[in-house]
């Protein structure tokens, strides 16, 4: 431990890490990560958000009103102001913020903005996580194949990556969601939309993961332990799974973490443009932060823009902070 505390010295990291036996990369990364206050704060917020999404109904029943309940009473919404909520709080004029409605009310229909924000985390995180998973699976598989086998496989996969990167991504995603029908694959309504969004967002982002994995595989392929495995008679698939994959976990983990906030922004953008998950009046509300923002855009009431926007901002920032910290912690060249 004595040697490890002196990490500020530029060249003091590599040698001592080797000198201490029995400390895995994971352990080293964890000690580094624990020291990174910004990353830890980001991590805490992420955990908080996940809990918020999972326990949304519980939280809302404590601190708010069900997200599908309309509060159009004249004591809450001022009819003479065209349905703006009554009551100011700080600079949130006509927000209706009170102990009862923590983030105020939606103008006109009077839904509880707080509970909508809480429920919005569900759609956002579900889509972002699963879409990332899709990208990671496709990206790692193709990246490893391209890097390991080279030749024709590499040429084709690299060309595919370039084609995908040349696509006007957002435009394509919007168009795709737009042309698809209301029922398909035995799913309908929002479940179909969520499945489609996951697939589309995940499918368009795989080249980012594949590029990293391919690069790493190319350099790993030339290492001695691979030669050793091969000289012992191991075949391609065995080498990929048993020798390469464990070494690829760290970079994949880092870039997956950094892909999550991108996907959150992607989903929010689609919802903002009106092609995301649709709002329901009964059952699972299907609220999205992006959807709330696009409703707010028509109203010019500041609290209605502020809270959904901040929800996106804080979530994305938290994932970015954590991802950056994770990258620094897992980077063997990191000097921190």
């Amino acid at each position: 431990m004595a040697t490890r505390t002196d990490t500020s010295a530029p060249e003091g990291t590599k040698a001592p890490a080797k000198a201490i036996e029995g400390r895995s990369l994971g352990r080293i990364a964890w000690t580094r990560l624990k020291r990174d206050k910004a990353a830890m704060a980001g991590g805490m917020v992420v955990i908080g958000l996940i809990l918020m999404a999972v326990f949304a109904p519980l939280i809302v029943s404590w601190l708010g009103h069900p997200p599908n309940e309309f509060h159009q009473d004249n004591s809450l919404l001022a009819a003479e102001l065209g349905g703006l909520p009554r009551g100011d709080f700080l600079f949130f004029e006509n927000s209706g913020i009170s102990g009862d409605f923590l983030f105020g009310l939606e103008p006109q229909n009077g839904r509880d903005l707080f509970s909508e924000i809480v429920y919005g985390a569900r759609v956002s995180l579900l889509i972002a996580f699963l879409a990332t998973l899709v990208s990671v699976v496709i990206g790692s598989a193709l990246g490893v194949i391209a890097g390991f086998f080279g030749g024709m496989a590499d040429t084709v996969i690299s060309f595919l990556m370039n084609v995908f990167l040349a696509f006007p991504l957002l435009l394509f995603a919007i168009a795709l969601v737009g042309v698809l029908p209301d029922t398909a694959f035995g799913l309908s309504g929002n479940s179909l939309r969520i499945a489609l969004l996951i697939f589309i967002i995940g499918f368009f982002n795989w080249p980012y993961i594949a590029r990293i994995v391919r690069g790493q595989t190319l350099s790993l392929r030339e290492r001695e332990f691979v030669d050793a495995a091969r000289s012992l008679g191991a075949r391609g698939p065995y080498i990929i799974v048993k020798e390469m994959l464990p070494n690829l976990v760290a970079p994949i983990l880092v870039y997956a973490t950094l892909l999550i906030p991108t996907n959150i922004l992607f989903e929010a953008a689609l919802s903002f443009l009106g092609v995301g998950v649709q709002r329901q009046v009964v059952g699972e509300p299907g609220v999205t932060w992006g959807g709330l923002l696009s409703d707010a855009a028509r109203n010019s009431v500041v609290h209605f823009m502020f809270f959904p926007g901040m929800a996106i901002f804080i979530t994305v920032l938290a994932f970015n902070l954590f991802g950056d910290g994770l990258r620094d912690a897992l980077d063997p060249k990191s000097k921190r």
Binding site: S158, F159, N162, V163, A166, F167, P168, L170, L171, F172, I174, A175, L176, G178, V179, L180, P181, A184, P261, L265, A268, A269, F272, L273, G274, V275, G290, L293, S294, A296, A297, S300, V302, M305, F306, P308, G309, I312, F313, V316, L317, N320, L321, D324
Partner: protein, 356 residues
């Protein structure tokens, strides 16, 4: 992409020029191939996928005719527009029309659609190409202003941060940059509009656009908020790239050599450090500008600017397939061309790029 390894041509400048030309030709073919793939994918999405989902040639024709048309008219129209042809034939006709134009026979006489023919809008019956050209100035204005703004601020902040690594400025700037990349442009845009336009009346309200040729002053006034909104996002990203790049380069041996030669620190930073660090930034810059020229969808729809991105969203909401395909191809074209230009500039500017 230039190959990672290869030998410098020892045979002299003539042979070198030949290699450059071959490289350019190869890259151009690659770009054309890329556009081909994009066009096939686009076509399949809009004319293939709906078929799987139950659309028929008649329903396509009905989009031109409105709801009132009877079945017979629909069939007649579908026949004339070639919706009964096999998919590959339709694709071929579509591509052919883009290069040589085509003639449409609506029954009221033959109408000629000149060379870059992307067909006619389902809704307005305007030629899609005219609509695209009509919207282009808005998107170009938006992209031009914003890109200059973000390149200058992003690189300046990034360089200063790298030179004063660990200082208060560095940490503040990098925290700000991380926040900047986490802010969705439609959120910042809405807040800007609310405060600067709605509350304090300092800038133009949303939906305003004045053409440059009408009044340059009002043009800038109408675009200042969209510029800042779009630039903020990218400036933050560029500051992060530049800082990382500068930190890498300033640790290189050639910087030590330059210092050892006794060069002034300013010369070391600008002539040696910045030049090397900027090359990758310029690459990304080219690609970003190419991407935005195809439509800055989010910024345009936040500010109600009727550019290409706005057209795209509008077309998608109204299921106007010819228009959607036109915009998509237009956008893909910009991205691919930007890619090509960047690659070629790279090959000319950076002696380390091997062309084999």
């Amino acid at each position: 992409m230039a190959g990672p390894a290869g030998l410098v041509c020892p045979a002299g400048p003539a042979a070198q020029a030949e290699i450059v030309v071959t490289f350019f030709i190869r890259r151009t073919i690659g770009a054309a191939l890329m556009l081909l793939v994009v066009s096939i994918a686009t076509f399949l999405i809009f004319f293939g996928l709906p078929r799987l989902a139950g659309a028929t040639p008649e329903t396509f024709a009905a989009r031109y005719l409105g709801r009132t048309a009877d079945e017979h008219t629909q069939q007649l129209f579908a026949e004339k527009l070639g919706f009964y042809d096999p998919l590959w034939q339709q694709y071929w006709n579509w591509i052919k029309a883009i290069f040589v134009g085509t003639d449409y026979d609506y029954g009221t006489g033959i109408e000629h659609c000149a060379a870059p023919c992307f067909g006619y809008s389902f809704r307005t019956n305007h030629a899609v190409w005219d609509d695209l050209l009509d919207r282009l100035p808005v998107t170009v204005s938006l992209t031009l202003g914003a890109s200059i703004l973000w390149l200058v601020t992003g690189v300046a902040v990034g360089v200063l941060s790298a030179l004063r690594k660990g200082s208060f400025f560095d940490r503040a700037a990098m925290t700000g940059a991380l926040a900047g990349v986490s802010l969705p442009p439609y959120f910042t845009g809405l807040m800007f509009l609310y405060f600067f336009s709605y509350q304090f009346d300092l800038t133009a309200p949303g939906g305003t656009y004045v053409d440059f040729s009408d009044s340059p002053g009002e043009w800038a006034y109408s675009l200042i908020l969209p510029w800042i909104t779009l630039a903020m996002l990218n400036a933050a990203a560029y500051a992060r790239f530049t800082r990382a790049g500068m930190l890498d380069t300033m640790g290189e041996d050639f910087i030590r050599t330059a210092r050892a030669k006794g060069l002034h620190e300013r010369v070391v930073v600008t002539k040696h450090g910045l030049r090397a660090a900027l090359t990758p930034i310029i690459t990304i810059f080219g690609l970003d500008v190419g991407l935005l020229l195809g439509g800055a969808i989010l910024t345009e729809s936040t500010f109600g600017l009727k550019g290409l991105g706005y057209l795209a969203i509008d077309a998608i909401n109204k299921q106007d397939f010819p228009q959607i395909m036109g915009v998509t191809m237009f956008a893909a074209f910009f991205v691919v061309v930007a890619n090509l230009i960047v690659d070629m500039l790279y090959a000319v500017v950076d002696p380390r790029v091997r062309l084999s």
